[in-house]
Subunit: 211 residues, 2 copies
């Protein structure tokens, strides 16, 4: 299976080559990959920040346990969730479906779909955010695998201070919370981690067959 | 970017062709894909159930809002989390790293690494499970993208009754909780969903550039 080569090639790149840049095509491809992430009910409660400003990236290093890859990688992606889902989001979503699929927005199936989606709107903040955060992790899984297929290096990061990120990037004003950080680019030739053997459980330790 | 074709090809397959089966090679490839999923600290708090028993799969349909793909797809994968992470898990992990990388298990770096990982062991059940569940979602993202690259159809499912699944599969005895379900196989030629245009937000609705 060809994908296995890609997954074995990738690793959490701790040292990027700051001189090697992704082309505009690759960056817009990565952002499209993220937008294509499947999400629960298709609701996409996510936003993807592409941080180009180097002063900002330098500042974010301080809020990332001083991990230099935030600054050195070609590009920096931050996966965020919306603070909340509103009825307006649900209506826009249904409008989007009807438009793209050329369907009648007054069809009864949209009414029952809306009723179902409105349950999410009625959830408590913490239930909603727990659900939305999980969708951010699907995006991360998709991003890492897609980058590996394209031989782009990435460093998935939970290790940062989300409050400081939110402050630095004015995310509260934008109605967002930062959830995951992922610098992308190309590994440095002298990243010692790139030579380390991958550590995973043995098949029998992680797979259970129900026969 | 080649990966985009794959991501556009995939969709949540609601109707599988029950006569089309994945080869043994593809199934073992899928299980290896799952094992290669990157996880926080590399701790892999996950187990992957491969349910082959058709009587069991039939029973699980009832606990999946009667979604027939659980029974009809070539194979059924259930992504589970361990109930807890113990000191024994941490020690096995460190042993695994030392073995695979041929390192001295008494090296000081392993001592500080263990101290760090023991923090997770000391978390409350709910904090631990929230963290572990997120790792399950990375596995799902990886699985969906990898399947798409290999032109294998998949149907990611949050819509099932985890308690009934845990009962049916005796997961509590195994120290596991079911988190996500994913039938994999090949789409039926008459799945109307396979023809539907993909619905996603516009680039500007989901990407924010920080310049």
């Amino acid at each position: 299976m060809k994908i296995l080569e890609s997954l074995k090639w990738r690793y959490a790149t701790k040292k990027f080559d700051p001189t090697k840049k992704l082309t505009e095509d690759l960056i817009s491809g990565i952002l499209e990959v993220l937008n294509l992430t499947p999400t629960s009910y298709g609701l996409q409660p996510l936003k993807f920040l592409h941080v180009k400003n180097h002063e900002v990236r330098k500042k974010l290093v301080e809020h990332s346990w001083n991990q230099k890859q935030v600054q050195d990688a070609s590009d920096l992606i931050i996966i965020c969730i919306q603070d909340q889902i509103t009825e307006k989001d649900v209506d826009s979503y249904i409008e989007r479906i009807a438009n793209i699929r050329n369907e009648d927005i007054n069809a009864p199936r949209f009414e029952s779909f809306k009723t179902m989606l409105m349950k999410i709107v009625s959830w408590s903040d913490s239930d909603y955010q727990e659900w939305a955060r999980k969708q951010a992790y699907i995006a991360l899984g998709n991003l890492m695998t897609s980058c590996a297929v394209e031989r782009i290096d990435a460093c998935p990061m939970e290790g940062f201070d989300p409050k400081k990120y939110d402050e630095t990037l004015n995310l509260r004003e934008k109605g967002l919370h930062s959830v995951l950080v992922c610098p992308v680019g190309y590994r440095s030739e002298n990243d010692p981690n790139s030579e380390l053997a991958k550590v995973r459980k043995k098949h029998d330790e992680i797979v259970i067959e129900i026969v």
